[in-house]
């Protein structure tokens, strides 16, 4: 049974002169306790997807099924119990904590909002949470400005954990941190995932981080998933040209195509207001043929390409 199933998820933003197809038909599932990495360039719709999963954004189309319940258009009150199962960690540790609240109050917020009184009291629970994320529980009364970026992100994680969720959407949780701190936070998340059996949708543009953390990986391009699969499959044997291009940009990690070396993508990402016909990647793809312009390749066998690697 999958914890989260997404079918044809779509988000279109109205804009001047048309609509921005930020997310344009996503299908994927996340099993309980699983970590799914969602990677792609900036503007490919990762963050929008993450926001939709926790219902901060209203999907334009498609379905989100969480624990067998369709939550796509669930109203505020009905959504409430489910929110406790479904939390989010934000990218910017500076913007994600209310500067006027104490750390204790920030972490306790999900509890107070939902009227939950944990045994032993809110304060005790908050201190446990702080300890769990590696912060000094004594710092309960301190304000965000007194903490470093990494520490703040830990506070954000503690807040996400407060309701004991089953799934956490982590939206680029480390990209705003220094490299050394990134490692600490990633390790913390990995540990929490193991200890608490959490499922993650881990959104990142950094393939190395994803490889380190995720069991499965989905690669997005212009609002669609172009390739999805087990981590090792993707990293060892990428089949979509775009995945290959992305991986080739990582010098140390990529051990692919001995002959090809680094692939440089030509041209800019097309505008999501007017995506190319057929395969969206065709304008930058070195393998593109006529069929790519007319027919959109379906996501079959984990890849959406007319001419996937290793198929010919």
């Amino acid at each position: 049974m999958s914890l989260l199933a997404v079918e044809g998820l779509t988000k279109h933003f109205p804009a001047r002169g048309g609509v921005v197809r930020a997310v344009d038909g996503l299908d994927f599932t996340v099993r309980a306790g699983e970590t799914l990495g969602l990677v792609g360039e900036s503007g490919c719709g990762k963050t929008t997807t993450g926001r939709m999963l926790v219902r901060l954004l209203e999907p334009t189309g498609g379905r989100i099924v969480f624990e067998d319940r369709d939550i796509t258009h669930l109203g505020g009150r009905a959504m409430r119990p489910l929110r406790q199962e479904l939390q989010i960690i934000f990218q910017d540790p500076y913007a994600s904590l209310n500067p006027r609240h104490t750390v204790g109050r920030i972490v306790a917020m999900p509890l107070t909002v939902n009227g939950i009184r944990p045994p032993g009291g809110v304060k005790k629970r908050v201190q446990e949470l702080l300890e769990l994320v590696g912060l000094n529980p004594e710092h309960y009364n301190r304000y965000p400005h007194e903490f470093s970026g990494g520490q703040r992100q830990r506070v954000g994680i503690a807040r996400a954990l407060a309701l004991r969720p089953k799934l956490i959407v982590a939206d680029e949780p480390v990209s705003a941190l220094d490299v050394s701190i990134q490692a600490q936070v990633i390790n913390l998340l990995r540990q929490l995932q193991r200890d608490l059996g959490l499922a993650f949708v881990f959104i990142a543009h950094d393939l190395a981080v994803v490889r380190h953390f995720c069991q499965r990986v989905a690669v997005m391009y212009l609002g669609r998933i172009v390739e999805i699969g087990e981590r090792d499959e993707i990293y060892e044997r990428p089949r979509h040209p775009y995945t290959r291009a992305l991986l080739s940009a990582i010098p140390n990690v990529a051990k692919l195509g001995e002959s090809e070396g680094r692939i440089r993508l030509s041209g800019d990402v097309p505008t999501p207001m007017n995506p190319p016909s057929g395969c969206r990647f065709r304008t930058r793809c070195w393998k593109a043929q006529d069929v790519c312009a007319t027919e959109e390749p379906p996501l079959t066998g984990g890849v959406a390409c007319h001419f996937p690697e290793g198929a010919s």
Binding site: L86, I88, I106, F147, G150, Q184, N252
Partner: protein
């Protein structure tokens, strides 16, 4: 940016940058207070304000100690021919510290004490009402956006487009007639209320704009989304999450609105709207005194210097408050 695999090996979870010892953190408000306390200008202007307000509050007590009331007349101390105070500096004497008013022969000092009361009350109350309306409208417009924002912003534009002085001038009389008819005495509190209402009706827009802008920049902040993701309702988001972040601009605009209303009330007196004789009022006093600039400068000087000090102190304090609340700006 990329990580080498070595770095990604598990490392012990620990505080990377331990914060200084101590259990209780200092809130931004407390920090601001500390900064304010260290600011000499703020302290001097703050004390001046406090003193003036104390004087205003203690007016009846001062009257008892001083021995002269605001309506007592000393016409015998005026010249018969020009109705100008006899003696030096506008009739300054041991009995009348700041001299007496030409024409009416009333004591300037005690009238200033009571006038301070009227003026400060009107200004503070107007600023409070203004802030209340402005903050509510600003938060609603900023957070809810959409048609609410459109409507509130439009009302703001509309209120800005109405010429304040002309409306203030035109509205007083019909309102009086409506509530008191042509024969009943119009109580002072009623005029005061109308003044406050006029100020509020025209003054809330700037606060609303300011707050709206702040809210818009805060609205997309992730801590708001975090609250929403946790299932927080509108009330919680507006009042628990947004409002605490708005105190700084609200306080600053409040502290700058008060002096604006003090001078505004005086300006209305200049046009003959507002508090009428014999109620002691700063605006009315200043307005009346200007004519005596050449013949009885003391009459202009004492109220003039006091209102200047009052407004200056408010302005200085407002500036200091802004600096204290937002250490990034200036200093």
């Amino acid at each position: 940016m990329s990580l080498s695999p070595e770095v990604l090996e598990p490392v012990p979870v620990a505080d990377a940058a331990p914060v200084e010892k101590g259990v209780v953190g200092r809130s931004p408000g407390q920090l601001a207070w500390t900064r304010l306390r260290r600011d000499r200008t703020a302290m001097i202007s703050g004390c001046t304000l406090l003193l003036l307000m104390l004087v205003a509050l203690a007016a009846p007590l001062i009257e008892v100690l001083y021995g002269v009331g605001p309506h007592d007349e000393f016409k015998e101390l005026l010249t018969r021919r020009g109705a100008i105070p006899l003696g030096y500096a506008g009739g300054v004497s041991a009995d009348h510290w700041f001299g007496i008013e030409p024409g009416t022969g009333r004591d300037i000092f005690i009238r200033m004490v009571y006038g301070l009361r009227t003026s400060i009350f009107i200004a503070l109350a107007s600023a409070l009402v203004t802030a209340g309306i402005g903050v509510t409208a600003g938060i609603l417009a900023g957070y809810l956006g959409g048609w609410v924002d459109t409507v509130i912003s439009w009302i703001t534009d509309f209120a800005l487009a109405l010429p304040f002085l002309i409306f203030a001038l035109a509205i007083m009389r019909p309102v009086e007639m409506r509530f008191y008819g042509p024969r009943d005495e119009v109580p002072v509190w009623f005029r005061v209320t109308v003044l406050i209402a006029i100020f509020a009706a025209f003054g809330w827009t700037s606060t609303a704009r300011l707050v709206r802008g702040q809210v818009i920049s805060l609205r997309e902040r992730e801590f708001i989304e975090a609250a929403r993701a946790s299932g927080a309702g509108l009330g919680h988001i507006l009042f628990r999450q947004l409002l605490p972040n708005l105190w700084a601009p609200i306080l600053v605009s409040f502290s700058l609105a008060v002096p604006a209303y003090v001078t505004g009330e005086a300006a209305l007196s200049f046009l003959g709207i507002g508090i009428v004789d014999p109620t002691p009022d700063f605006g009315a006093m200043i307005f009346r005194s200007i004519a005596y600039l050449q013949t009885d400068p003391a009459y202009v000087f004492f109220p003039g210097i006091t209102i200047f000090a009052l407004v200056l102190a408010f302005n200085l304090f407002g500036d200091a408050l802004r600096d204290a609340l937002d250490p990034k700006s200036s200093r």
